[in-house]
């Protein structure tokens, strides 16, 4: 319900449109958790919309959105129809959901959730914003279920910014759902359950697993899983870490470890951890909490929104994921050099991030060069949003997915604080990069068109100073105001 009763024709008033459709329940994410929720909703007689962004458009995959694909997908991913079929076949519950009356939209991303609340009351109701390959639109909901899963945690090291360095979730997507992994021989970084499961999955899918590298002195995951990996003759490189990925035009060709060992592989799979996908919750201004045992920041209690599956937090096995990834970040940081890239989109190096230096297309006069994270920290605790605006790390087309977590960890380390001492860099809608023409509302209301103004629609604001309180003031005001509502 609109409660803004101001009469300003240029204010938001009732201009934001009602949703195109309404559902008792909207579920975002058609993995097992989302499907289970959708089926349960349908079973209770609710109208249910289930959306899933898979298959991911090829261009987004190329930008490592939403997972770190590392350029290791086959050309099959370019064939949208084939991909749709493959994704559908890979998840038998999808058909069950459709049979149960759930409206299923694949290739459809949810890029925003909008609710009236602090600082905004202009919405006709709470809505989810969606987009497929052709258009964007919004729908209303009574219950929103987020089952958006978890995304890859990336931590850089020398040479990680080339094709062939990817994430474990992306590999799972390519192997198990897309049948489109282009690599042949992989090295896995990490040894907790995610890494162990990745090794076994890859082996099952006929991929050659050269080994797992672990910074700590023993495999970290479940003993039985570690045993299964050993039984498959996959070696562990313990108390070790990738010092450099070396490659050629097609990306990674081999990896040199800190111990000096060189391993020929075409793909390095970062399996240090997963991060619950809380983009939508954070972008809507929802609550979140830090829980190291559940993978980092997880959703808090949010009215009308239920989170299920990995996006609600990874299974708590008593293992502190945040401690573990901080240990990796420290080690890979030591192995990195000043010119090691942190932010791939904006080509921000480690030295420039820690130096809080602007991008290379700007000059760096002496006072600028004298500034650094250390001088900034004297003014207050580091804030990733401030640092990203200055260095551009995280400002690129991947929307910070590749560097957000490592930047946060680097800042925490630089400030000598725990991971949680650094605020989470904000997520903003659209939480997926979407073309202007897709996002655009091509059917906006007459009220929106008529009330549109470039700024506030205050005619007195634009009258030249010298004409204020002269007869020309009225003339200007009238002419200026007439030009509005284009």
């Amino acid at each position: 319900m609109h409660i803004n009763n101001g009469t300003d024709p240029h204010a938001i008033g009732t201009k934001l449109p009602a949703p195109e459709a309404r559902y008792d329940m909207v579920v975002v994410g058609a993995g097992p958790a989302g499907l289970t929720a959708a089926l349960a909703g349908a079973g209770e007689g609710k109208s249910v919309l289930l959306v899933d962004e898979n298959p991911i458009p090829g261009a987004a995959m190329g930008n490592d959105v939403p997972l770190l694909f590392g350029g290791r997908m086959t050309t099959a991913t370019q064939n949208a129809e084939r991909m749709l079929e493959t994704v559908f076949m890979s998840e038998p519950m999808l058909e069950a959901a459709m049979d149960a009356g759930v409206e299923v939209l694949l290739g459809t991303s949810a890029w925003g959730v909008y609710r009236n609340g602090a600082g905004i009351t202009g919405l006709p109701e709470n809505v989810v914003a969606l987009a497929d390959k052709d258009r964007g639109w919004i729908v209303g909901y009574n219950e929103l279920v987020l089952a958006t899963g978890a995304r890859d945690l990336a931590i850089g090291f020398p040479g990680w910014n080339q094709p062939g360095v990817m994430g474990a979730a992306a590999l799972e997507r390519l192997l198990a759902h897309y049948e489109a992994f282009a690599g042949k021989r992989i090295l896995i970084v990490g040894s907790h359950n995610l890494a162990l499961e990745t090794a076994l999955l890859a082996r099952d899918k006929g991929v050659d697993v050269a080994g797992l590298v672990e910074v700590r002195s023993a495999p970290q995951g479940d003993a039985a899983l570690a045993e299964a990996v050993r039984a498959a003759q996959i070696p562990f490189y313990l108390e070790d870490a990738p010092a450099e990925a070396i490659g050629g035009i097609d990306g990674v060709e081999r990896v040199r470890l800190r111990s000096g060992a060189e391993i020929a592989v075409d793909t390095v799979v970062l399996a240090i951890g997963l991060v619950p996908s809380i983009e939508l919750i954070d972008a809507m201004g929802g609550k979140r909490v830090l829980d190291g045992a559940r993978g980092g920041y997880i959703p808090g209690d949010n009215d009308g929104v239920t989170c299920v599956g990995d996006c609600a937090g990874l299974a708590d096995t008593g293992f502190d994921h945040v401690d573990y990834r901080m240990e990796w970040a420290r080690e890979l940081g030591k192995l990195s050099k000043g010119d090691t890239i942190v932010c791939q989109c904006e080509e921000v190096t480690r030295a420039d991030l820690l130096g809080v230096q602007p991008p290379r297309y700007l000059e760096r006069p002496a006072p600028m060069q004298a500034r650094s994270l250390d001088t900034l920290i004297k003014d207050g605790p580091p804030n990733p949003d401030q640092i990203k605006r200055l260095t551009r790390a995280g400002m690129g087309v991947c929307q910070g997915r590749r560097c957000r977590d490592q930047v946060a960890m680097m800042l925490a380390m630089a400030a000598d604080g725990p991971f949680g001492s650094v605020p989470l860099a904000t997520h903003r809608a659209p939480v997926r990069p979407l073309p202007l023409r897709i996002l655009a509302d091509w059917e906006e209301s007459e009220e929106m068109r008529a009330g549109w103004d470039v700024w506030f629609g205050i005619p007195t604001q634009w009258v030249p100073y010298r004409d204020i309180d002269t007869p020309r003031e009225r003339e200007h005001q009238t002419a200026i105001a007439e030009g509005w509502s284009l």
Partner: protein, 403 residues
């Protein structure tokens, strides 16, 4: 480093700096608010030799000053010529990059827009600021992303744009380099007054003694000045912007039109805003949140119409900022009568571009009691004397009532 389309300045910024150096030596000035207005004022005062302390409730530039369109072409302002004189020199004077770029284009995709732009062109030419009219083909040759739908436009041979976050930080760092102090996360909670003067400012960082105070706290000026018994009519509102991934660089990045303001950043991103705002309370503690809305879609549409050849570009973020507005949309830059050492500055929604000049005006008021370079009598606070408590309602600007 001057503009083709502006009168030639009488003196260089370097000459001005030499003139003011030492003029406020030993003066202790506390500035409330580390947005562009407060920081520019602080920088000008530090340049004059004052001992400057800036207090901000959060991080410098966290509110409107770091979230705006970066436009610097507000020809209606009495501060405009000074702004234009200063901007091309700001990087050198501050010692940090601001990404300032000169000149602007405004292009039309409807006959009504074109009419409007022609009126504005004439208004500027009458003031002696040169604007060239362009036809559609001329626009297309200057703006590679424009399309067949473009009917023409105008070329401001003045004005420009800069990077808001970088500029805010540049002011802040330059101020520190001159010995100024900035306390972040330090909201001001009150004032000590003795004999018609504020003698100290209270903040969570402690008590800060002062000879003069500048209140530059954006929408929060209202609540702060109320503590001093001065009524400053202000209304806050939320305004939204979107930004795309980088596009190929255009020769002039400051291209407005089709109901949008914005710029192409030096990285190539298209950052644009416009359209309806949402009125809000002025919130004494600052805004509780700065959400964006599905207006993102309407902005995306207009950017796609403005730049048809960029319609395939990805939007990667949207954001919102809280804008301060006075009842007539014009700034308030004024030194109070009581307490007589307090100067108030609020720019009513167009304060970024004018900041190099607004700081100079504040410096003049604080140090000399009068603005040295232009008449600012018509933007004094007294024009709102007796405005009445219902001024927002009268304009239809009221914040929504709690549901």
């Amino acid at each position: 480093m001057t503009y083709v389309g502006m009168p030639t300045p009488k003196e260089t910024p370097q000459e001005t700096m030499a003139k003011i150096a030492g003029s406020a030596k030993g003066m202790k000035v506390v500035i409330v608010g580390g947005g562009v207005s407060g920081l520019s004022a602080g920088w000008w005062l530090a340049r004059s030799g004052a001992e400057v302390t800036v207090l901000d409730k959060g991080i410098v530039g966290w509110e409107a000053s770091g979230r705006n369109g970066g436009g610097a072409s507000h020809y209606q302002s009495p501060l405009f010529e000074e702004e234009q004189r200063m901007w091309p020199h700001m990087d050198a004077l501050l010692g940090y990059p601001t990404e300032h770029q000169q000149e602007r284009l405004v292009i039309a995709v409807s006959p009504k827009q074109l009419n409007q732009y022609h009126y504005l062109a004439k208004m500027n030419n009458d003031m002696g600021y040169r604007v060239d009219l362009l036809d559609g083909d001329q626009v297309r040759s200057m703006v590679p992303l424009a399309g067949d739908n473009c009917l023409g436009g105008m070329h401001y041979r003045f004005g420009g744009h800069a990077n808001p976050q970088r500029s805010v930080q540049a002011y802040a760092w330059a101020l520190q380099d001159l010995g100024g102090r900035i306390y972040q996360h330090s909201p001001v909670t009150g004032f000590e007054t003795v004999g018609g003067k504020v003698t100290a400012v209270h903040a969570t960082s402690g008590r800060h003694e002062c000879d003069a105070v500048v209140v530059a706290a954006g929408p929060q000026i209202q609540a702060l000045m109320a503590k001093l018994g001065v009524e400053v009519p202000l209304a806050a509102a939320r305004a939204e912007m979107i930004v795309t991934e980088p596009a190929p660089m255009m020769p002039i990045g400051g291209v407005d039109g089709n109901g949008l303001y914005g710029r192409q950043t030096l990285r190539g991103n298209l950052a644009y805003g416009g359209g309806p705002h949402e009125w809000l309370e002025t919130f004494e503690a600052g805004p509780p949140a700065r959400p964006s809305s599905p207006l993102t879609r309407n902005l995306a549409r207009r950017v796609a119409e403005l730049f048809p050849k960029a319609a395939h570009l990805n939007v990667i973020r949207s954001w919102a900022g809280i804008v301060e507005n006075t009842p007539d949309g014009r700034p308030i830059i004024d030194r109070m009568k009581d307490p007589e050492n307090v100067t108030v500055i609020t720019m009513s929604g167009v304060g970024f571009g004018l900041s190099p000049a607004s700081g100079h005006a504040v410096r003049d008021l604080v140090v000399d009691g009068a603005c040295s370079f232009t008449d600012i009598a018509k933007i004094s606070l007294s024009r709102f004397d007796g405005i009445g408590a219902d001024w927002r309602e009268q304009r239809g600007w009221q914040a929504p009532k709690a549901a």
